[in-house]
């Protein structure tokens, strides 16, 4: 008997049809494609061998709140069941008019090269963050105008800390 599962995987959404097969394995249908799946727990912990279309790979699966913490390779997802009829979760948010550059690492700001109002091109240097004794130039991922500089020289920044907000636009050209 087939069962349909509507899942939210982080910001993405997927619908999976699940069928039990006589040999104890599962047949899952995703985007119209059938996959044979077997899931074997390794030991007593959260480690599983996922045998997907006859290829085995290790995954971590663990209850977390209402969902399942799922770790595949370097990626960690919280997978939750969506209620039937609930509005879909979009794969992408609408493009905003501005973009905030976050610190890719924990470190110290040693140089700020832009100020509010500056027009920047894609790949222009914005500031320098020192981590592990290396100076890392943080470059603009986009062309635009600097709206806000969130940090000053000597500021300690965590990974993900906002550094510079840029209003998108072609003023900086290419």
């Amino acid at each position: 008997m087939a069962k349909k599962l509507a899942l939210a995987i982080g910001q993405a959404a997927r619908e999976v049809e699940v069928r039990e097969i006589d040999d104890g394995s599962l047949m899952l249908v995703l985007d119209g494609i059938e996959h044979s799946v077997d899931l074997k727990r390794i030991g007593e912990g959260p480690l599983y061998e996922l045998i997907l279309d006859h290829h085995a790979t290790e995954v971590l699966l663990q209850r977390e709140g209402q969902g399942v913490r799922t770790i595949v390779g370097a990626d960690s997802f919280l997978v939750t069941k969506r209620r039937a009829g609930a509005g879909g979760i979009g794969d992408e948010e609408a493009q905003e008019g501005e973009l905030t550059v976050q610190s890719p690492m924990t470190g110290v700001v040693v140089e700020v090269l832009v100020q509010a109002g500056d027009v920047v091109a894609k790949r222009d240097s914005l500031l320098v963050v020192q981590a592990m004794k290396m100076n890392n130039e943080i470059r603009s991922p986009t062309a635009g105008t600097v709206k806000t500089v969130h940090v000053a020289v000597d500021a300690n920044v965590d990974q993900g800390a906002p550094l510079v907000t840029i209003e998108l636009g072609n003023a900086g050209a290419n």
């Binding site: 599962l5 899942l7 995987i9 982080g10 997927r14 999976v16 699940v18 039990e20 104890g24 394995s25 599962l26 899952l28 995703l30 494609i33 996959h35 799946v37 077997d38 899931l39 074997k40 727990r41 007593e44 959260p46 480690l47 599983y48 061998e49 996922l50 045998i51 997907l52 279309d53 006859h54 290829h55 085995a56 790979t57 290790e58 995954v59 971590l60 699966l61 209850r63 399942v68 799922t70 770790i71 595949v72 390779g73 370097a74 990626d75 960690s76 997802f77 997978v79 069941k81 890719p104 690492m105 924990t106 470190g107 040693v110 320098v128 981590a131 592990m132 004794k133 100076n135 990974q159």
Partner: protein, 514 residues
């Protein structure tokens, strides 16, 4: 048969990670007891587990633990260690630490402090070696204090050039300058980085030679005056002067150039009265020209490739030499055989310009099999943060020839399993299959001018996560915490690097590049 009497009774290993484990293992092979030190962040690390004794000496910050000289000497006293092995990094090239060990009645397993200082100051090294007749990279042998002085030198040797910290090393404190306009800012930046990293802001100017290969000569010398050079290592696969892949021998080496480089390395060792293991790094250009880059007065990260093809144990020899014993071999006893390649597995994201990655190691299994050696500090539950160097493990593949070593390395990389943390393994897989790498046509800028992976290459695991979680929910129902019903099944040869599914292509299609 070599002398089997242990060179020491007990050795303290003043390091962490894979190199601490390497030294602990080297000690045990000689019947020497080992003492591990660790920070509070490393108490479950393998070097602690496999040492005979361990002492927690402070918090995660290196300045409070692995760099805390007094705490380390205190552990040496309490454990009654006779000698200290510094590994690489941390205190390995700190002459003050070497002297403090000697003053405390301990043997420092490394070169004499005077040799360390002579080579540690890049400028003093340049002056010494100029006198010894070792070829140098064009540039200054005295410190450059201001932009106008640098500009004058630049007019002589021409752009592009490098601003280097005299106290630098391992790629730190270096700035590239392409024209006069960039010079003042580069000097200020280099001075600042040098002051922060080394407490010494003396800088100098060198011509930026390109294209060049980074090729280095391993040597080891004993107190009896014997210097043995152990051929070369090719280390041109590097990024921002951090090495990523090393091999021995160098693919383009000729017997004639090898002989000249080994001779120069011997001169370097003689010029600074060197004892113990060290490496003379050179730049090779115009096919058969080379120039001295720097000497590393310690065991290096990439020492295993030399051990593989020369069939020696460098750590064991370091211990013997430090104890005053002669080397167990002469240069004539040894021949190089086969090929070895090393890949440095680091906590860096190759899909995003090698940004440092952090996280928890939820599951780790290392490769093995014919011709594979893994030196690793990884363990399940390890939290990889920003306190230490991003190097996690080294995979070394040995073969009868380069192609066999390369294929074995690709196999080993495909077996490397790590859940929860992005590593640079996908970069290594791409590079090992790069036609220019396969042909040996590489130089030190190759990695930076060749984009191997971008964010678009990052495998999308969303579908696999959906299928895994759906299976988990199906097996465990709605009730939380119910163990899954175990299902047997054949385990095919796995490949963890999964690409986004395209059309009818299987979701588990392996990582392929060509």
């Amino acid at each position: 048969m070599t002398d089997v009497s242990p060179p020491f009774r007990k050795v303290l290993v003043a390091n962490r990670g894979e190199i601490a484990l390497r030294v602990v293992r080297g000690c045990r092979d000689l019947g020497v007891e080992s003492v591990a030190i660790c920070s509070e962040a490393d108490q479950a690390a393998p070097h602690v587990r496999y040492a005979d004794e361990s002492y927690t000496i402070g918090p995660a910050e290196a300045s409070e633990s692995y760099l805390a000289i007094e705490k380390i000497l205190d552990v040496a006293r309490r454990s009654q260690a006779e000698a200290v092995h510094p590994g690489y990094g941390f205190l390995a090239e700190n002459a003050e630490f070497a002297r403090a060990c000697t003053d405390a009645g301990l043997v420092f397993i490394g070169p004499p402090p005077a040799a360390m200082e002579k080579m540690g100051s890049k400028l003093e090294a340049r002056r010494t070696l100029q006198a010894a007749g070792v070829p140098l990279i064009p540039g200054t042998v005295e410190p450059v204090r201001d932009p106008s002085e640098a500009e004058r030198v630049a007019r002589e040797i021409g752009y592009p050039l490098l601003i280097k910290a005299s106290a630098g090393g391992g790629g730190k404190g270096i700035r590239e300058v392409n024209d006069a306009e960039e010079l003042p800012r580069a000097i200020a930046n280099a001075q600042q980085e040098a002051r922060a990293a080394f407490g010494d802001d003396a800088i100098y100017v060198e011509k930026l030679l390109r294209p060049v290969r980074h090729i280095e000569v391993q040597l080891i010398a004993d107190h009896q005056g014997q210097i043995v050079t152990l051929g070369e290592r090719e280390c041109s696969i590097q990024r921002r002067r951090q090495k990523l892949i090393e091999e021995a021998p160098a693919p383009t080496m000729t017997p004639e150039l090898r002989m000249r480089m080994r001779e120069a390395a011997r001169k370097v060792a003689e010029a600074c009265d060197y004892v113990n293991a060290g490496t003379v790094e050179c730049l090779v250009y115009d096919d058969d020209q080379f120039a001295f880059l720097e000497m590393n007065t310690r065991l290096q990260v990439e020492h295993p490739v030399t051990e593989m093809v020369w069939r020696v144990d460098l750590v064991a020899e370091q211990l013997r030499v430090a104890a005053g014993q002669p080397l167990t071999f002469t240069e004539d006893d040894l021949t190089m055989r086969g090929w070895a390649i090393e890949c440095r597995v680091a906590a860096e994201d190759p899909y995003q310009g090698f940004l440092p990655s952090t996280g928890t190691v939820h599951h780790y299994r290392e490769p093995a099999g014919p011709g594979i050696r893994v030196d690793s500090g990884l363990y399940d539950g390890m939290i990889v943060g920003v306190h230490y160097d991003p190097l996690l493990a080294k995979i070394i593949a040995r073969g009868l020839d380069r192609e066999q070593a390369r294929r074995r390395m690709l196999r080993a990389l495909s077996e490397f399993r790590l859940l929860g943390l992005q590593t640079n393994v996908p970069f290594h897989i791409a590079m090992l299959q790069d036609p220019n790498f396969v042909a040996g046509a590489i130089d030190t800028d190759y990695v930076e001018r060749t984009v191997h992976l971008t964010i678009d290459d990052r495998p999308d695991h969303t579908d696999i996560a959906a299928l895994a979680a759906a299976s988990f929910l199906q097996r465990n129902g709605a009730s939380a915490g119910t163990p899954g019903r175990d299902q047997g099944g054949p385990a095919a040869a796995p490949d963890p690097w999964v690409q986004r599914s395209r059309g009818q292509q299987g979701l588990m299609a392996g990582w392929r590049r060509n």
